[in-house]
Symmetry: C2
Subunit: 417 residues, 2 copies
């Protein structure tokens, strides 16, 4: 079950009524609020307004935006520390960012004074906003913390299919923003940029989207822009080894700051849709190894049926072809390696050559990228039938610290430890 399919809902609550002011923490039922309505936690309005009133918790064991169900809108933004900025400035920045993330996720304005907020999120509730912070490999050089850089941030290997644009890859700092409302997400993006102040400069920025909650009759695994069900093979929170696969466990004292954290591998994967859409559905299904309509493996069953990788058809050929994407990326073919994929689709209009500049902002979460993403991508790189239809255009690897307790800021245990 993918994060978007209703599993893994954690630390969220519905607040009474949407509306930025009405949603101000526990001060509900108070006068004022842009909508002018009073709301309490007992009178959650029916129907659609749960989109606005759903609040994700900033504090917790893990940062938000990892187990949060897929959101309809997302922004990824990477920063480099400004020349001259070091550990002290980074600590102050993470303190500011954590404060603004906590405020915005609760549906409150970004600053203390009226002039500090752009107003773009006014009227709306928190709308499942999450803000997630990570550190790139270069962050540790810049802050004099190389001795505490974990091996998980070693550079990713090169893959033969990579066409990476360095300007849209990597970065000292990475921020992932998600919300079910596009204006709430944009508001958070601008607030994060503003709080960067003189300490950090934007390196790259990307926009993405997923289904709107309620567009399907019941929560379902997401589809990508190839029309394929995407996320079926994700580890499930109910599985006994889920936490161990996705989050860094206690152990290594040098990296205690990363306990409860995770690694995010971010790849901008362009889909060559003009080519893909020329294939028949039958051919597309053999490239993937799953049925398009419902994501069931070609070996039979429903979406959640285990793939039977050895099953052959009447002609003796494997039902799930040797080079099918689902076979090669299957955990059983990768020593049980697993990563929690939690992507956004992207569509940036037309490329100069007239083809759609669209695809997947692939984001996967794992306790160790060299046991999660890397071995799977190595295999895919060698023989994935999907390769001719995709192109990895940008890449990033970020260590995402664990969640915070009230009063603590993200990364504090690293920066002040």
């Amino acid at each position: 079950m993918a994060p978007g399919s209703g599993g893994g809902v954690s630390r969220r609550r519905l607040i009474g009524g949407a509306g930025a002011a009405g949603a101000a923490g526990l001060v509900l039922g108070a006068a004022g609020g842009a909508g002018g309505y009073a709301a309490t936690r007992d009178d959650v309005p029916a129907a659609l307004t749960t989109i606005g009133s759903t609040e994700e918790m900033f504090h917790g064991k893990h940062q938000p935006g990892i187990l949060t169900p897929l959101q309809a809108r997302g922004h990824l933004i990477a920063f480099d520390l400004a020349p001259g900025a070091g550990r002290k400035e980074a600590a102050a920045l993470l303190r500011r960012w954590s404060a603004v993330a906590e405020r915005l996720m609760a549906g409150r304005p970004s600053g203390d004074g009226a002039g500090h907020d752009t107003g773009v999120a006014l009227d709306a509730g928190p709308s499942s906003l999450t803000v997630t912070f990570g550190f790139g490999r270069t962050f540790f050089d810049r802050t004099g913390l190389v001795a505490r850089r974990p091996a998980g941030l070693d550079p990713l290997p090169s893959f033969s299919s990579d066409h990476l644009d360095a300007k849209r890859s990597d970065g000292d700092l990475w921020v992932q923003i998600g919300s079910d409302d596009a204006l709430v997400a944009f508001h958070a993006l601008r607030a994060v940029q503003k709080e960067a102040g003189e300490a950090a400069r934007v390196r790259w920025q990307m926009n993405g989207f997923n289904r709107t909650p309620g567009a399907t009759a019941e929560p379902m695994t997401a589809r990508n822009l190839m029309g394929q069900v995407d996320g079926t093979g994700n580890p499930k929170p109910a599985e006994s080894d889920f936490e161990k696969r996705v989050f860094v466990q206690a152990g290594d004292a040098a990296h205690a700051w990363l306990e409860g954290g995770s690694y995010a591998v971010v790849r901008r994967i362009r889909m060559l849709l003009d080519d893909w859409e020329k294939l028949t559905v039958d051919r597309q299904e053999r490239v993937i190894g799953r049925r398009k309509a419902d994501g069931a493996p070609l070996s039979g069953g429903t979406e959640t049926t285990e793939m039977d990788l050895d099953k052959a058809g009447p002609d003796g050929r494997l039902l799930i072809p040797d080079n099918a994407h689902a076979r090669i990326s299957s955990p059983e073919k990768n020593g049980g390696a697993a990563m929690l994929r939690r992507p956004f689709s992207y569509h940036d209009g037309l490329s100069d050559d007239g083809t759609p500049d669209a695809g997947l902002l692939f984001i996967c979460w794992q306790a160790d990228p060299f046991r999660g993403f890397v071995p799977v991508q190595r295999k895919l790189d060698r023989g994935d039938a999907l390769s001719p239809f995709i192109r990895h255009e940008a890449s990033g690897l970020f260590a995402v610290p664990g969640g915070t307790a009230p009063g603590e800021y993200v990364g504090q245990r690293l920066l002040e430890g």
Copy 2:
């Protein structure tokens, strides 16, 4: 009341359950459907699924997408007829496009055969999808129909503040797509492109968004990326002259094909947000002439209170400054000219100079652009306090034929008349 504020809801219905296959016209409760559930019109699922199950009607007096409430996601795409294509090819194209629009708006797949649909909208309901078609000035040259070109398609005048990119302006044909689900909208965009076939080539394409329904506790006028309530002054469907202002009326025999139609002026208006956000809220409010929190005029009252353009403060100065945007664009200052603004916001990431490439895909609808958009824009061009913070980067003017009866295609009365 803006289209997004719940007024002007016309010709829409809720179908039982979301799901592309389950939503196939009246064949509800049938076996199959991607989700495998049966649905009838009597058992509309509660809560969120009304986002997916809302269906806009393709046929009617007017085309859909004009009076439809603002949708969360939009695509604008302009085409030029291919070299050699004329009236006959254009007629065939509009017939294909009308057929696919009708199918998709009903939540059905785009083609007859399985191979013809990308599958991107599978599982989702129609999600308020609308597809709207318009003709640019050059369309009439290309199809030998210059004699039937209405004066409303005369070129727009130049404005001193224009910084128009010809490559992203104009076009023989224009299609507006809107949906509350991003994948449903993208699916329609690709289907429209595919049906263009050899008859027309994409000239430009833009993506936009609005609030997600339910992000606010109740329907409200939209906000733009400056954080301003935007759409308050729109004509209201309940007003006696609404139809006359927005839609072309019966009368001129040469243009009978346009009866029930409208003109769309499309402007890509970049917002210089880095500059705008430096202003205090007080200063922003004097630029606009309305309060940021609730859109009420600075002369007092609530959002819907009429502006008192002559009211002065204790210091003798006008409360709504002489060059305030709301004053200059006010219908009473423009001979009653009115247009129905129905925009999408856009955000295409970072510009090369590091500023956000974001703003408004301004779309306004009127019976006569030379009595609607043009006089207002002329005035704004001379003295709008907002001018330093925006830049018109692209422009289009399109005649949008009236709606169709079953069996008819959009523009048929022009192309076969």
